[in-house]
């Protein structure tokens, strides 16, 4: 995003809207720090700029900069998934897709968040470790498309330095690998240059129980009791 320096009157109204603090006040105008801006689009959508000085230049949509918008602007739609926003449908439509089946767990690691963001290359701290474990990354996830080689977890050189609001690494593991994979992630977490949130998707067992909770507690991971439940209203319903 850019601010037209000819038009801007330096009123400063736009500054508090930027989740990355990328709008900087100069002597008579405001300017956007091009390297820190993640192209989330909040400024252009929400700020009532008195002179309409905020604009999206054509470079925003040029490769590799274009990945910023895909990962940061929830109104942009990812070409490969058709889903608006950064991730996939995760548990939200699992009653219809059955992407996460009994006997398996889905794992999602979201790097960055509003306020801090992440450089795309920073996810490698975890993706390289996971690749060594033989993890198959979710094919329909935008971040997987940006890997040089999904067998190494290495991100393409030309997008490594692109800054985004957040990027989600997704994959599925057989349930017997839970302890091993979770311990690896836990051990690597301290080396990550940015923060990441960690979520696990599980089917309810036929009797309605969630035995994964006790297994996680045994390896020192205490899940939050605030959970996102797919209540099974989607049709056609797929059990597995």
């Amino acid at each position: 995003m850019k601010i037209n320096q000819e038009l801007c009157v330096g009123c400063g109204q736009c500054l508090p809207y930027c989740p990355m603090g990328a709008i900087e006040r100069r002597k008579d105008t405001s300017q956007i720090n091009w390297d820190e801006c993640v192209e989330c689009g909040i400024c252009i959508r929400q700020v009532k700029c008195p002179v309409n000085a905020i604009y999206e230049p054509k470079e925003t949509m040029e490769w590799p900069r274009s990945v910023r918008k895909v990962f940061s602007d929830p109104t942009s739609k990812h070409e490969n998934t058709g889903v608006r926003g950064r991730g996939t449908e995760e548990v939200k439509s699992n009653d219809v897709t059955a992407r996460f089946k009994r006997g398996f767990f889905g794992i999602a690691l979201e790097f960055g968040r509003p306020g801090v963001g992440t450089r795309l290359g920073d996810v490698e701290v975890i993706t390289k470790v996971l690749a060594e474990e033989g993890i198959a990354f979710e094919a329909a996830n935008p971040l997987t498309f940006l890997m040089e080689d999904v067998r190494t977890g290495i991100i393409k050189a030309d997008v490594r330095n692109e800054k985004v609001l957040s990027g989600i690494v997704e994959f599925v593991i057989p349930q017997e690998n839970l302890e091993q994979v979770c311990t690896k992630i836990y051990e690597s977490a301290g080396k990550a240059n940015c923060i990441f949130s960690w979520a696990l998707i599980s089917r309810f067992e036929p009797d309605g129980k969630l035995s994964v909770i006790e297994r996680l507690k045994k390896i020192g991971i205490k899940p939050s009791r605030n959970m996102k439940v797919n209540v099974g209203l989607g049709r056609p319903l797929r059990e597995d």
Binding site: W198, S202, M227
Partner: protein
């Protein structure tokens, strides 16, 4: 961004706090589903959400979102995203969606015992769950 999942707070602060999201599965049941999304929105607005946001109109209720305008602009991939601060309203919404066999997927985020209690009351069999394992790393 699964923010509803990774929210941090004491259990008391989550007691009457429910996030409800409804959407089709892209590539499976999304083609022509906008009437179902519209019906879901109508039911939710009738029950009275605490807030509801729209990716299509870029507004939420605190910004003065107009329900009728929003419903009119619904597309096949418009997700429904709202929150409630009353258990009974969530029960009512889910009951109506079930009785009318609307057929879109629905997730409810909240304290697990509360959400499971709601499912039991409505007669729903919970399918799957997304669980937060916390926020890690440095930054």
């Amino acid at each position: 961004m699964t923010h509803s999942l990774h929210r941090i707070g004491s259990e008391e602060t989550f007691q009457d706090d429910y996030v409800l999201i409804s959407r089709p599965a892209m590539g499976i049941n999304h083609v022509g589903c906008s009437p179902k999304i519209r019906r879901t929105l109508e039911i939710i607005f009738e029950e009275g959400p605490t807030n509801l946001g729209s990716l299509t109109t870029q507004e939420n209720m605190t910004m003065g979102l107009d329900p009728q305008k929003m419903i009119a602009k619904t597309e096949d991939n418009s997700p429904v995203m709202c929150c409630f601060n009353e258990r009974q309203k969530v029960v009512n919404v889910l009951t109506r969606l079930k009785e009318e066999e609307v057929g879109l997927s629905v997730v409810v985020t909240g304290l697990i015992d509360n959400v499971l209690g709601i499912c039991q009351e409505v007669g729903l069999k919970p399918h799957s769950v997304n669980i937060s394992l916390g926020v890690h790393g440095n930054g």
